[in-house]
Amino acid sequence: MLELLADRYVYLFVVALLSLGLFTLLTERHLVKKLVGLVLFQTAVFIFFIEGSVREDGDVPVIDPAVGPDPDAYVNPLPHLLILTALVVGVAVIGVALSLIVTIKHAYGTLDDAELSASEADR
C-alpha cells in the first residue's frame, strides 16, 4: 500500500481530481461552478498524460551530444504535444461555454440550473 503511494501517487492524485471534477459538475447548481468542475476533470486527464511521459533521470527532449542519441535518455515528448493540442481545444470549449453563460444570463437573469429548468417548464 505504502509502495503504491510512493510510486504511483500521481495517479491517485489524478483519480482524486477526476472524481472531484465529476462530483462538482454533477452536484453544483450554478452553471459557472459546473464549468469549474469540467475544467478540473479535463485537467486531470492532462496531468495523466504528462505523468506518463516522465522517465527516471530523463533529459529535455532535445538531442544533446553529452547524453547521446538513445531515446530512453530523454523524457517522451509526444504526450506533451498531444496535451498542447488538447489544451487549445479545451480553451475553445471553455470560450464557447462562457459565451453561452453570458447569453443565458441575459435571457433568464439567472445561472441556477434548477431555476432554469423551472422557467423552461413554465413556457
Binding site: L22, V45, G52, V96
Partner: protein, 491 residues
C-alpha cells in the same frame, strides 16, 4: 493501399471554405452561402470518387507532409470511411441548399458566421471519418462538438441552455475518450490505428486494455447518445433550428457511431472485443433500452421537433444493436440504418421547418388539415414517416430487416421482438400526425396556410425520393459497399 491526396482534400476543402465564408460574412455576406454550397458539392463529389477508388484499389492513404505512419500523421479513406464521407457531404449539401432563414432562423447578414460554422462542423466530421490515428480522431471529435454547440445556440435562449448542458456532458465524454486513448498509448507506445492492433493483440486479457475499452466506449457512447447517455439529445435537437437539427440527427451522431464501429470492430484486434469482453452484449442491451425509452417518450410529445428528437434516440438504439450483435448481417443493418435514418430524419426536420415557416406552428395539434393546404410537403412527410415505421418498399424496412435477421441469426430472439414491436410504437406516434394531416379539416379561425415555395420543397423532395430509392435499390448498396465492409470487419 494507394497514396492519394483525396483523404486530405476531404477536410482541407471544407476548412478552407470555412475561412473564406467567415471572411465573406464580414465583407460580402451574400457570398458566404455560395461558398458553402460549392465547397460541400465539391466534397460530396470527392467523397464519391474516393469511395469508388477505395473499393477498387483498397484504402487511400495520405501521409501528412510526406511523413509515413509511425512518425507522421496519416489520413486513411477505406470503403467504410468513404461510405460515411459520402453521407456527410450529401446531407451537408442539402442542409446548405435549404433556405437559410427557414433552416437557421436568421439571414446571412454581416457578422453572422453561420456558414463558416456549418463548414467547420462538416470538415471536422470528415476529419473523424478519415483519421488514421486515435488522437486525431479526438481532435476532430472536439472540433465538431464545438461547432455543434454554437449552431444549437442559434435556436434562442432555451437552445443556449440545452447547448450548455450538451457541452458539459459532451466534453466529459470526449475527456473520457482521451483518457482511454492515454491508456492505449502508454501500454502500446503508439496511437496509429494500424499499429495499435498488433500491439494490443499481445495484451489480450490485460486489465489496462479492458479499462481503455470501457473508457473509449463510454466516451463515444456519450457522443452517439446511447441510452442512458442520451439525456442531452432531446433538448439539444429540439431547440436547435430545423436545419441544424437535421444536420445533427442525420450525420453528427452517426459519425460518433462510425468512430465506435471503427475502434471496436477494426482497431481493436479481431475477435478480442467480440470474445473477451462483454462490451458488445452491453451495447446491444443498452441499444434495446434506448429503442424502448426513445419510442415511448416520442409518443408522449406534443411538439413535432421534440417528438423527432426523442425518436432519434430510438433510431440510434437500432444502430447500437447492430454494432453490438457484431455479425456481418447486423452490421450491414446498422450501416444501412445510418444512411436511411439520415435521409428520413433530415426530410422530417426539413418538413418541420417548412411547417414552422408556412403555418407558424410546431404543435402536432395544429397539423389538422395541412394535407390539403401543403400537399407536396405532406406527401414527403408521409413517405419519410412510413419509412420510419418500416414498411416496404421504403428504406426503413430494409435496415430493420437486416437487424432482425442479425438478431435471429445469433438467437437473440428478445432483441428481434423489440425491433419489431418498436415499429408498432413508431406507428403510434406517426399515425396520429398522419391522421390529423390527411383526415381532419382545419379549424376555420386559423389563418390561411399556403404550400411552401419551391426552394424549400426542393431539398425535402430530394430526400423523400432518396428514401424510396434507398429502399428499392438497397441491394446495390449492400452488395457493392456494405457487405464487403462488414465481411472484412467481422470475418
Amino acid at each position: 493501399m494507394t497514396r492519394s491526396m483525396l483523404p486530405a482534400l476531404l477536410t482541407i476543402v471544407p476548412f478552407t471554405a470555412a475561412v473564406v465564408a467567415a471572411v465573406a460574412a464580414v465583407t460580402v455576406p451574400r457570398a458566404a452561402r455560395g461558398v458553402a454550397v460549392l465547397a460541400t458539392g465539391v466534397v460530396t463529389v470527392l467523397a464519391v470518387w474516393g469511395l469508388v477508388r477505395s473499393l477498387d484499389e483498397g484504402p487511400l492513404v495520405h501521409p501528412m507532409g510526406g511523413w509515413a505512419a509511425p512518425l507522421g500523421i496519416e489520413y486513411v479513406l477505406d470503403p467504410l470511411a468513404g461510405f460515411v464521407a459520402v453521407l456527410v457531404g450529401a446531407i451537408g449539401f442539402l442542409v446548405l441548399v435549404y433556405p437559410t432563414r427557414v433552416g437557421f432562423g436568421l439571414e446571412a447578414e454581416r457578422g453572422v458566421f453561420l456558414h463558416a460554422l456549418v463548414l467547420l462542423l462538416l470538415g471536422a466530421l470528415l476529419g473523424v471519418v478519415v483519421a488514421g490515428d486515435l488522437f486525431n480522431l479526438f481532435v476532430s471529435l472536439e472540433i465538431y462538438s464545438i461547432a455543434s454547440y454554437a449552431l444549437i445556440a442559434l435556436g434562442g435562449p432555451a437552445a443556449a441552455v440545452a447547448s450548455y448542458r450538451y457541452l458539459l456532458i459532451g466534453t466529459v465524454g470526449s475527456s473520457l475518450y482521451l483518457l482511454g486513448v492515454g491508456f492505449v498509448y502508454f501500454t502500446t507506445g503508439t496511437l496509429g490505428m494500424d499499429s495499435v492492433t498488433p500491439a494490443l493483440a499481445e495484451l489480450t486479457g490485460s486489465p489496462t486494455t479492458a479499462a481503455a475499452t470501457a473508457l473509449i466506449v463510454i466516451g463515444l457512447g456519450t457522443k452517439m447518445a446511447i441510452f442512458p447517455l442520451h439525456v442531452w439529445l432531446p433538448d439539444a435537437h429540439s431547440h436547435a433550428p430545423p436545419a441544424v437539427a437535421a444536420l445533427l440527427a442525420s450525420v453528427q451522431v452517426k459519425v460518433a457511431a462510425y468512430a465506435l464501429i471503427r475502434i471496436l470492430l477494426d482497431v481493436f484486434p479481431p475477435r478480442y472485443v467480440v470474445d473477451d469482453l462483454p462490451v458488445l452484449a452491453l451495447l446491444t442491451w443498452f441499444g434495446v433500452a434506448g429503442v424502448i425509452v426513445g419510442s415511448v417518450s416520442a409518443i408522449r410529445q406534443t411538439d413535432l421537433k421534440r417528438m423527432l428528437a426523442h425518436s432519434t434516440v430510438a433510431q440510434l438504439g437500432y444502430i447500437a444493436i447492430g454494432i453490438g450483435l457484431a455479425t456481418p448481417l447486423a452490421l450491414v443493418g446498422a450501416l444501412l440504418h445510418v444512411v436511411n435514418h439520415a435521409a428520413m430524419k433530415a426530410c422530417l426536420f426539413f418538413v418541420a421547418g417548412a411547417v414552422i415557416e408556412q403555418a407558424r406552428t410546431k404543435k402536432i395539434a395544429d397539423f389538422a388539415g395541412l394535407g390539403r393546404l401543403m400537399p407536396w410537403t405532406m406527401v414527403a412527410f408521409t413517405v419519410a414517416a412510413v419509412s420510419m415505421v418500416g414498411l416496404p418498399p421504403t428504406a426503413g424496412f430494409f435496415s430493420k430487416w437486416y437487424l432482425v435477421s442479425g438478431a435471429v441469426g445469433t438467437d437473440r430472439w428478445l432483441v428481434a421482438v423489440v425491433i419489431v414491436a418498436s415499429s408498432v410504437l413508431t406507428l403510434i406516434y406517426f399515425l396520429r400526425i398522419l391522421e390529423s394531416i390527411w383526415f381532419r379539416s382545419r379549424d376555420a379561425d386559423h389563418e390561411p396556410v399556403t404550400e411552401a415555395r419551391p426552394a424549400i420543397l426542393l431539398p425535402i423532395g430530394v430526400l423523400a425520393v432518396a428514401v424510396l430509392v434507398l429502399g428499392v435499390f438497397n441491394v446495390v448498396m449492400v452488395d457493392e459497399v456494405l457487405s464487403p465492409v462488414a465481411d472484412r470487419l467481422l470475418p
